[in-house]
């Protein structure tokens, strides 16, 4: 008995030692792997024809962008048999972290890298190269019974900061307002706060937070007096789309720059992309994809935008 006990202790001890070694090596191996991947994908095929590309691409990040990247990756892999593209979700923060640490080739994000990688991580953001592949516009929506068609910026700010709590104060029915929000770390919320409200808001007691657009839509459609915001591709008759300062949130208004609540979908690479990744990103921006897959999935083609916006949010006419 005594012998066995000491044996188990020895086992546990060795495992702890092995583990601490792993802890130190963990990061190294991860970066090494990334390096190897990059090296593998870097191997030139000594051919000018695009269909002779071979290698693999790993992309991760934004779940809002994931369906588009997946669909485009499918058709890209059909055209280039040697290329293998894997697209993972995980959220914008995950995508940016992993691409900054070279664990993946492409990091998908709903927001500019500079907005997520701040302070101590600001250096990491500088190494990342931005590729804007699509635009997503976000509209304020309410429960159909709220009785309001349009809200001004100030009214929206008052609602989301809790100053206005009843729809009758903005010309609607006598019904308490229920906010259906996104979590404070969400890219969609950041876009809505930056460009529709112009200010950050704090979570209010009693407000609801959901992280998937489907659930947000369901809750706004079912909850009396609910208000929230959704990407244009999610809008339908179960919720009421609100005009913003009198401007209808439509694709045309976004393209012409009249409707301001939109953001780019980014695909970040660490440094300039290698041959394969570049070919994929170029394919992403071709008219075939931009007017096909991008529009089909409810995004707005980035190359059609008549205005552009930088990290600070300054909008310029193209």
């Amino acid at each position: 008995m005594q012998f066995r006990k000491s044996w188990i202790m020895a086992l546990a001890l060795t495992s702890v030692v092995a583990l601490s070694a792993c802890g130190n090596n963990g990061n190294n191996t991860a970066t090494n792997n990334g390096g190897n991947n990059a090296a593998a994908t870097n191997t030139p095929t000594e051919s000018s024809s695009g269909s002779d590309l071979s290698g693999s691409i790993l992309a991760s990040g934004s779940t809002a962008l994931q369906p588009l990247v997946e669909q485009v990756a499918e058709s890209f892999m059909d055209a280039n048999n040697g290329v293998d593209i894997q697209v993972q979700g995980g959220g914008s923060g995950t995508g940016l972290t992993q691409v900054a640490e070279k664990q993946v080739d492409i990091g998908n994000s709903d927001v500019f890298a500079e907005e997520k990688l701040k302070d101590a991580d600001a250096e990491k953001a500088k190494a990342l190269v931005d590729h804007q592949v699509a635009v997503v516009a976000i509209a304020a929506v309410s429960n159909p019974d709220a009785g309001v068609d349009s809200l001004t910026k100030q009214q929206l700010v008052d609602i989301f900061t809790g100053k206005i709590t009843n729809w009758k104060d903005v010309g609607g029915a006598d019904q308490a307002i229920q906010i259906i929000n996104r979590p404070s770390s969400s890219g969609t919320r950041a876009t809505f706060e930056n460009f529709a409200l112009g200010t950050k808001t704090e979570d209010l007691q009693g407000s609801v937070q959901e992280d998937s657009s489907g659930t947000v839509k369901k809750m706004i459609g079912e909850t009396p007096g609910a208000i929230g915001y959704l990407a244009l591709s999610y809008l339908d008759d179960t919720v009421k789309t609100l005009n913003y300062d009198g401007v209808e949130p439509s694709v045309d208004n976004v393209i012409s720059g009249k409707y301001p609540v939109w953001a780019y979908e980014h695909m970040y690479t660490n440094g300039e992309p290698n041959e394969i990744v570049k070919a994929f990103l170029d394919y992403m921006l071709t008219d075939e994809v931009q007017n096909g897959d991008v529009v089909d999935l409810g995004y707005i083609p980035a190359n059609q935008m008549q205005v552009s916006r930088d990290v600070e949010g300054n909008v310029t006419k193209k």
């Binding site: 086992l11 546990a12 495992s15 702890v16 092995a18 583990l19 601490s20 792993c22 802890g23 779940t63 979700g89 995980g90 959220g91 914008s92 923060g93 995950t94 940016l96 972290t97 900054a100 640490e101 997520k116 990688l117 701040k118 101590a120 991580d121 229920q178 979590p183 404070s184 770390s185 969400s186 890219g187 950050k200 704090e202 979570d203 209010l204 007691q205 009693g206 407000s207 609801v208 937070q209 959901e210 992280d211 659930t215 369901k218 809750m219 079912e222 909850t223």
Partner: protein
């Protein structure tokens, strides 16, 4: 003459025995490595913010303001800790009586068809994925609560109701096993003394099996405490200590699943989420300890 039997001693079953032992030791070692590395990983991430001075332990555990994106971020986890405890205790309060009655029904009242009917149903219940529970909660329980009580239906009450259904099978099966393993002569002597079935159940069976049943309750609570998805869908996720059972609230698990993917690894907010994961893990340890203590008491 002596050499011969020694040689024939290494037979096939000795080799099998040896290989089996090696394999078992490997599995045990692997298990230990996995557990230790998980504890190490969560703990090292979880204490990062305290080490760097980004937040204080007291501010984290007892601070009620969660505003990680604000200009001066504050990482108070009290709303989430209270939310987790509230839904867990409520769910156990709702589920325990139901489960114990179901177990009594299966073992004492109608051991024949009662068991045949209930056993598969309860096993089925434990096999349903949590997202299904969450969706049913969102589509059935939340509208029901909204129409019956003041408020929007979402909140601690909805979360506790969904969880109580989820932990029902855990408590029921543990309680049923405990009741079935009760020595027959205890019941027989009770009946022989002229006790009715109700008197036997309430005075003899339940008191003797109580520690074992409590084990089931604690196991159920451990599951409720760690459940993320179903709760997140119905609780509303506002980072506040709720003022009523029908107001949007959060749990430790729901805030982790909501924000983990949106934050970058190593940022203070991400580390704060890991600290909550550490709290969750410590709570699990406490639940396990409780179960061990109850099991010790359980020896009749």
């Amino acid at each position: 003459m002596r050499v011969k039997p020694k040689k024939t001693r290494i037979e096939k079953h000795h080799i099998e025995d040896f290989l089996g032992r090696i394999y078992m030791s490997f599995c045990v070692l692997l298990l230990i490595v996995i557990i230790v590395s998980m504890v190490y990983f969560v703990a090292s991430k979880g204490i990062a913010n305290f080490v760097s001075g980004e937040m204080k332990v007291s501010d984290f555990l007892f601070g009620s303001k969660w505003a990680p994106e604000a200009d001066t971020p504050s990482y108070g986890a009290l709303p989430f800790i209270t939310g987790s405890f509230l839904v867990t205790l409520l769910a156990a309060l709702i589920a325990s009586p139901l489960s114990i009655c179901a177990a009594l029904f299966m073992t004492e009242i109608v051991p024949g068809w009662g068991k045949k009917l209930l056993q598969p149903v309860i096993e089925l219940l434990s096999g349903i994925p949590s997202v299904v529970y969450g969706f049913v909660g969102l589509s059935v329980i939340v509208p029901f609560l909204r129409n019956t009580f003041p408020g929007q239906g979402i909140g601690v009450a909805a979360g506790a109701l969904v969880l109580s259904v989820m932990i029902l099978p855990t408590i029921t099966s543990v309680a049923a096993d405990a009741l079935a393993s009760l020595p027959q002569n205890l019941k027989e002597s009770s009946f022989a003394l002229g006790a009715t079935r109700w008197q036997t159940i309430s005075r003899v069976i339940l008191p003797t099996t109580l520690p074992a049943i409590m084990t089931g309750v604690v196991l159920g609570m451990a599951r409720a405490f760690g459940e993320a998805l179903a709760v997140q869908m119905v609780i509303g996720n506002a980072p506040f200590v709720p003022r009523s059972l029908f107001e949007s609230a959060s749990t430790l698990t729901s805030v982790i699943t909501l924000s983990m993917g949106n934050t970058t690894m190593g940022s203070p907010q991400n580390n704060a989420l890991w600290s909550m994961a550490l709290v969750l893990m410590l709570m699990t340890f406490i639940f396990v300890l409780l179960v061990r203590m109850l099991e010790r008491r359980n020896k009749i």
